[in-house]
Amino acid sequence: MGRRLLSILIVSVVLAGAVIVFQYWSYRARPVIILATTTSLYDSGLLDYLNPRFLETSNVEIQVLAKGSGESIEIAKRGDVDIVLVHSRTLEEEFIASGYGVHRVGVMYNDFIIIGPKADPAQVSGLRDAELAFSKIRETGRLRRSFFVSRADRSGTHLKELEIWQSLGLNPSSSIEPWYVEAGSGMGVALRMANEKQAYILTDRGTWISFKDQLSNLKILVEGDQVLLNPYAAIPVNPEKHYHRNFKAAVIFVKFLISDEGQRLIGDFKKGEERLFWPMARDFQMAAQLGFPDQAKEVSWYDMQPFQFRQAAVPVAAALCSRTAHSYVTARSEVEFDGAR
């Protein structure tokens, strides 16, 4: 039965090879946490700029998923990420209230702006009132003279937009309205769609700055309304709900974000000449205005968490088998606080 043996051998070699590849990939030399954040924040490049510095100081690696705020919080509830960095107060508060998120803290803010075609058929240019601008855009839209592109993806930007419609007592997506274009996509795609259709759109300033070179038909029309401020909150996943998540490393990341160093780095981050985010973690008055009434309490909680950490010793078996024997699960819980023991 030489052939039979051979075929069994081939199959088992292939399977063994696959298992080895699996194991090789699983090995992480350092603790890893997964951060779910919004597309707008991801596209800005802020995390690519912060993460290497965080890695240097903490030896914790951040893997970033770019999702809308709605999806980020949803997967966090399922326990698939360690921490979220999002911008939607209603969703965040619901996340906290349901017990899945803990220690919500404001990190920074920027603002939303309404941009639209240079011809501005709705005459909203220069307004400082988002509600008024929206109702004018709707009027000209119904006269078929303009369009409005909605993200329609349950992102923070989309929910902010719905909030403004709601305060006007409206819900344009409840019926088919030709002027109201529901894109169902990320900020960049929606912006380009608005550019093609010469439509109005609500966007955060950071994404606008990153994309404006590609958006020759659009310009900023409405800015400066208090309603349009856009704060970002960091929320670790509750370790009591999902014990396998790396809560300690997530806390270390938040400590970094709200530390003087982290806040300075955020404030220094620029695209071209323009600043994209304003740090506010330690400006409690501003934070309270932006929807973080417990900011002082949470910041002092984070400050009280011990921050010296060391790399855990590599288990003997792992050292012997070099990169193959180490499991992902243990690597994730490797961070130990010196102070905690």
Partner: protein
């Protein structure tokens, strides 16, 4: 510059500049799809041959199901695998979500029906007389299977070509279960999607050209193997 010309030029530069990120993306695409196809072949070929050679209750139904599954949309596979691997799902404790392993599993789910179904159809189209002759010469089950597979090798290789093509070009499943994490789970297709969303069409197209070149090279190799096998 014309974006297509720009894409070609950029593809060339990306390749010769040995950009580590581009190479890590290319390598991950190859390894993930390659692993999925290998495991898919190791399991799908025996399964397909088994179905073709045995007669049993519900064989036709099974074949129809298998054929239907060859058209399974990658996003649906992605969603299902996500729900299974998610921390709140049945295999949550393995913590495989957002890793290359999860991507291999998702592509394996996609690729298995393709390999099994094409193998089954090519094995069953082998001349019946060969089967009778083998049996009359006293071949046992596994010898028969190997003989039939040898005879159907062109079709089996076609199955591999189709499977690899489907795996390396799909984006829906790897996006959902891999998460497109930079340096870790970003493949050519998810990188193309991201660059397109960011409006960097030149780079997106360049990556597309690299993907196309890659699957062309692999297909040339597999096709040579296929035809040389036929001539022998």
């Amino acid at each position: 510059m014309n974006p297509i010309v720009d894409g070609l030029v950029r593809a060339f530069w990306l390749l010769i500049s040995f950009d580590p990120e581009v190479y890590s993306i290319v390598l991950l695409s190859l390894v993930v799809s390659g692993a999925a196809v290998l495991v898919g072949a190791a399991t799908g070929i025996p399964f397909g041959a088994f179905i073709a050679l045995r007669s049993f209750m519900g064989k036709r139904v099974l074949l129809s199901v298998l054929n239907t599954l060859t058209g399974l949309p990658p996003v649906v596979v992605g969603l299902l695998v996500y729900l299974v691997l998610s921390s709140s799902g049945p295999l949550g404790p393995l913590q495989l979500l957002y890793t290359p392993q999860a991507m291999v599993i998702a592509q394996l789910v996609m690729v298995f029906p393709i390999v099994a179904s094409v193998t089954a159809s090519s094995v069953s189209s082998v001349d019946r007389k060969l089967r009778l002759r083998a049996l009359s010469l006293g071949a046992d089950g596994s010898q028969l299977t190997l003989t039939m597979l040898r005879e159907a090798r062109t079709g089996v290789l076609t199955a591999m070509v189709l499977a690899f093509g489907a795996a390396i070009s799909e984006v829906g499943a790897v996006m959902i279960v891999g998460g497109n994490i930079r340096w870790f789970t970003r493949t050519l297709t998810t990188a193309i999607l991201l660059e397109t969303e960011l409006g960097r069409f030149g780079i997106a197209l360049a990556l597309g050209i690299i993907l196309l070149t890659l699957s062309f090279v692999i297909n040339v190799a597999l096709t040579r193997l296929q035809w040389s096998g036929l001539r022998r």
